[in-house]
Amino acid sequence: MSYQPIREKLQRKEVVILDGAIGTEILRRNVTWADHQLANKPDFVRGIHEDYIRAGAEVISTNSFQLCRRALYNHFRDDAHRHHIGARDLDERAGKLLAASVHLAREARERVAPKHAVAVAAAITTLEWCFRPDLAPSPDEAQKEYREIFQIVKDAGADMVLLETVNSIPEARVGAEIAKYVGLPCWVAFVCDERGLLFTGEKLAAAVQALEPLGIEAILLNCAPPEDISTGMAELAPHAHVPIGAYAHIGRFDPPEWMFTDEYPPAKYRDFAARWKQMGARILGGCCGTTPDHIAAVGALR
């Protein structure tokens, strides 16, 4: 499997179904997500991927949100402090878990053996917290860290990268450049606010202009409520030449967990996705709070 069948579908302007949430789905199934569960409960994580494939997902994303060296290191003053009191495997842990996340998604695809083509997307996000562009590292640091991450997921066999919940053009640009350098097809998904702007205040039109020349395969919107995604889609669609897509979150962020609500049952979520399709989106999926049932419902839009 490779990205090629997905690329061809998008070139034919056909709809591609992305999976739904994995982190919140772990919570909904009554397990803590604090450790990604990649090492402790691999069968459980793989099972969620399998459910999304059965629901019709053609791109499944790895359970690796915010999983990076920096996320672990941020809990310590510095290297000396980490080495003094931290778990002994912390220097290697993020890399191992990232590779494991790709392996689990690939295994799920083998086990379900779907009739449709399924690509495994390594889900990678901002190096610092996704909602806090003010914390972003310098482009030099970001380049170094993304290079390591992208190489790990490529070596583990990912078909593509889904750079998601990105909050600024500069960090997106670094990610897109590294994807090209490493040789992985890349979708970039931005989080947008109620006005359809990036969290830095930058415009989606500017994001399109900055990213399209870098060879990215698609631009998407994610991790905002469905109404905000619609607003963002109106900002994105008129400017994009590459395929575009969207996946909204439903329910409410209840740190450190997620609050599930019944505001957007699958049929209602599908109606939003239909609107995004009407606006030009061809990649449709679900972010936090969505379930395999939501993805099955969105699948009707193919």
Partner: protein, 315 residues
């Protein structure tokens, strides 16, 4: 209640502080959300009770790193929190603070025990990140909000735990004292043996004494480090002093949730070994001794054997 504590400390008796809450709750299978205070308050109460049975004469509230910032920090700003966050997040901290005192008091009442309850305040940002400490005026305000709730809920005194800079500790100390509560200040140590901020331990101790602290401690570092610091503290202060060490190694969460209490390899410090180490702290003049992350009621029980059945030293 604090008068009993004060007179015991004045007469040189040792007091047994409880052990870890967060790491032990997680070890007991509690899913770490809202400090377990809403979904698992029975488990929190049971753990308080276990520490009382083990001989602790001071119970700490389950409020480590609990402040409005921990919720606000994972959003773009307040309006984003209101827009996509669960209802009530802005007030959640205060609900949980009150609940923490209620649960500790309930455990104490059921055990028919006279332990003192210490309201725990800690750094507003991550306890291991002195670089993130907010400016002094801001820190003062935010600690006051928390101390006010503890004062209203009538804790016996305040324990500022894992403080990582002198600046924030001073503000939190002043905030606590403004409500008329006795305040103990405990610093987290860095790998060099000084404060985590690299400020000298002696300066931290002296400034807390000058600021009106009732006791000075060190915590959240390995037992050997706590022991070395305690050997030095006697020279810097006339205040009662002590420490509580963490055992094992900090295993942080694989995504950004700031405080997730998980320590591994804790078996390397059996209760007996920990108590033997703490015995040296007692011999060096420490009178307040307990356990930090990774320790369990068994460690408290072993400490009691060293310090005496009601927290007194056998020495």
């Amino acid at each position: 209640m604090y008068e009993t504590i004060r007179s015991r400390l004045n007469s040189g008796q040792a007091l047994l502080l409880d052990g870890a809450l967060g790491t032990e709750l997680v070890r007991r299978g509690v899913r770490w959300r809202k400090h377990g205070l809403l979904t698992d308050s029975d488990a929190v109460e049971a753990l308080h009770r276990d520490y009382l049975i083990a001989g602790a004469v001071i119970l700490r509230t389950d409020t480590f790193q609990l402040n409005p910032r921990i919720y606000l920090n994972v959003f773009r700003n307040r309006s984003h929190m209101a827009h996509i966050g669960a209802p009530g997040l802005a007030e959640l901290t205060f609900t949980l603070l009150r609940k923490s005192v209620e649960v500790a008091k309930r455990a104490r009442a059921k055990a028919n025990n006279h332990a003192a309850i210490a309201g725990v305040l800690s750094p507003l940002e991550h306890c291991y990140r002195p670089d993130l400490v907010p400016p002094p005026e801001q820190a003062r305000c935010e600690h006051e909000e928390i101390a006010r709730v503890f004062a209203e809920e009538k804790v016996d005194f305040l324990l500022l735990e894992s403080m990582n800079t002198i600046s924030e500790a001073k503000e939190a100390l002043a905030a606590g004292r403004s409500f008329g509560l006795p305040v103990w200040v405990s610093f987290v140590l860095g790998p060099e043996g000084e404060l985590l901020s690299r400020e000298p331990l002696n300066r931290g101790v002296v400034e807390m004494e000058q600021g009106g602290a009732d006791a000075v401690l060190v915590n959240c570092a390995p037992p050997e480090d706590i022991g070395k610091a305690i050997l030095r503290m006697r020279k810097f202060t006339k205040l009662p002093f002590g420490g509580f060490a963490h055992i094992g190694r900090f295993s942080p969460p694989s995504w950004k949730f700031e405080f997730f209490p998980q320590f591994i390899e804790t078996e390397s410090w059996s209760p007996e070994r920990y108590a033997a180490e703490a015995r040296r702290w007692r011999d060096a003049g420490a009178t307040i001794i307990g356990g930090c992350c990774g320790t369990r009621p068994e460690h408290t029980a072993a400490l009691r054997a060293v310090l005496g059945t009601d927290g007194r030293s056998k020495a």
